[in-house]
């Protein structure tokens, strides 16, 4: 537990010292939504219908883009190797990494949501459901993004590659979270979708650490 705390602390300090790691995904997120709105046109009726789509695609891309660098610094300055040989649990290390990444990228997204919601003409209830959706779906996205980052660790020009590899895996969580938004717009129960999203999250958090550990060991050996 102390190793977990120490790792998270270290991560948060790192993010604190490099604010661009936090700000760039957020600005990118806002820009994607903004460009999509311009592409569709500012008509209110149309926007309310399609705007959730912008928010999800923008969130997916922003999270994946920032997750791509989760292990890169540690790999390049050699601290990853030290963690691998230190005998500390790598599972705890990757959990700390993804938790810190989630806190740093998602909390600003949720805080930005009401502001964005008002400009996209959402009502109060839709904003609330969107925030809930973001909170439920993003842990899975963060973990999967870390898997992509770990698989491509140490490869040249891996920016696009992570997207090609991981975006297909984003399809199931995306389907359920959009299902949840639609259900709430139609006034139906959203609880089944909440359970589905939680189920996917538990599946991801149970299986992904094994994959992450294998990838990190591999990268450290090179």
């Amino acid at each position: 537990m102390t190793f977990f705390k120490a790792s998270i602390r270290r991560e948060l300090i790192n993010y604190h010292r490099k604010p661009s790691l936090v700000l760039n995904p957020l600005v990118f997120y806002g820009l994607v939504v903004f460009l999509s709105v311009i592409a569709v046109g500012p008509e209110k009726g149309q926007l309310v219908q399609v705007a959730p789509a912008f928010i999800w695609t923008a969130a997916l891309l922003a999270i994946l883009m920032s997750a791509d660098g989760v292990f890169r610094n540690d790999y390049e300055d050699g601290s990853l190797e030290l963690v691998v040989v230190s005998g500390k649990s790598l599972a705890v290390y990757v959990l700390a990494k993804t938790t810190a990444h989630w806190i740093v990228t998602v909390v600003p997204l949720v805080l930005l949501m009401p502001l964005l919601g008002i400009t996209l003409f959402f009502d109060f209830r839709s904003i609330w459901v969107l925030c809930l959706g973001i909170v439920l779906v993003t842990p899975t996205l963060s973990i999967l993004g870390a898997v992509g980052a770990a698989i491509t660790l140490g490869l040249p020009r891996n920016g696009m590659l992570t997207f090609v590899l991981i975006l297909p895996f984003y399809v199931p969580p995306l389907i359920f979270v959009t299902g949840m938004i639609q259900a709430s717009q139609l006034g139906e129960a959203i609880l089944p979708f909440v359970y589905w999203l939680l189920g996917i999250f538990f599946l991801a958090i149970a299986l992904a650490p094994m994959v992450l550990i294998a990838c990190l060991r591999m990268a450290a050996e090179d």
């Binding site: 898997v147 698989i151 491509t152 140490g154 490869l155 040249p156 020009r157 891996n158 590659l161 090609v164 590899l165 975006l167 297909p168 895996f169 399809v171 199931p172 994959v211 294998a214 990838c215 591999m218 090179d222």
Partner: protein
């Protein structure tokens, strides 16, 4: 007990054994698919609702089965490579990826040609179609990652891990039609039940599936033999083989 397994892991021995298998499997696959195509196109009955459009099933269903089986085969090869560190298994997995990608592309194309007369649309965003599209994207991702790994000169372990992670999609494709109420019809074959089709239709379909399996493995053998020759080109046995043939 696992002696044969380790022996087969030697590229040289595999190459020698596959020399004997390559031509018979290829000939058999041409024979089965060619013969069965006549049966399917001329003699199998037309559907009472879909008419002759149903005949595209004999291309579509086997390709779908093979695209999924191919993925499972690729993941198994990757697992063998990751567990026992047998290089040949990595090359085997590499040889599957483009083949599987073409097969899943074929599934989507034939499906959309079949969908136009029967559903009235080239494409619908139904669960099975979407998950087959994801299968195609997974294959493409595998090819992309393999390219990047080879550029850097590392082995395919990352590819193997990704292949195993991608296995999640296989049950989603398989059961999507049962879980969600969608437009796509349920599975054609089940181990436990009689098919819903009449014998005159499912028998040629079954033979076509066998023909596709033979075709898959014949192309795969060509690909992996090619891969062995490329990787082992510096060894004495490849040089003597190239000199003798």
């Amino acid at each position: 007990m696992l002696g044969w397994f380790h022996k087969l892991g030697s590229p040289k021995l595999f190459f020698e054994i596959s020399t004997r298998w390559q031509n018979p499997i290829t000939a058999l696959s041409v024979l089965v698919i060619g013969g069965c195509a006549f049966w399917c196109l001329l003699f199998a009955p037309a559907d009472y609702q879909q008419g002759h459009a149903v005949r595209i099933m004999y291309i579509h269903v086997p390709a779908a089965i093979l695209a999924q089986s191919g993925y499972i085969f690729m993941a198994l090869c990757s697992a063998v490579y990751l567990i026992w560190n047998i290089k040949l298994a990595d090359w085997a997995a590499k040889s599957v990826a483009p083949l599987g990608a073409s097969l899943s592309f074929l599934v989507l194309i034939t499906g959309s040609i079949w969908g136009k007369p029967t559903w009235g649309a080239w494409w619908v965003w139904d669960a099975r179609l979407t998950s087959t599209l994801v299968l195609l994207l997974l294959y493409l991702g595998m090819i992309a990652l393999r390219g990047a790994l080879e550029e850097k000169g590392t082995d395919g372990r990352a590819c193997g891990i990704l292949a195993i992670v991608g296995l999640v999609n296989i049950p989603i494709i398989k059961f999507s039609v049962d879980w969600w109420f969608t437009l796509h019809q349920p599975a054609s074959f089940k181990l436990t039940e009689q098919p819903a089709m009449p014998l005159e239709m499912w028998l040629p379909l079954l033979i076509m599936v066998i023909g596709y399996y033979l075709f898959f493995f014949s192309v795969w053998i060509y690909r992996i033999r090619n891969e062995i020759l490329i990787r082992e080109k510096k060894t004495a046995w490849v040089k003597s083989w190239a000199g003798s043939s």
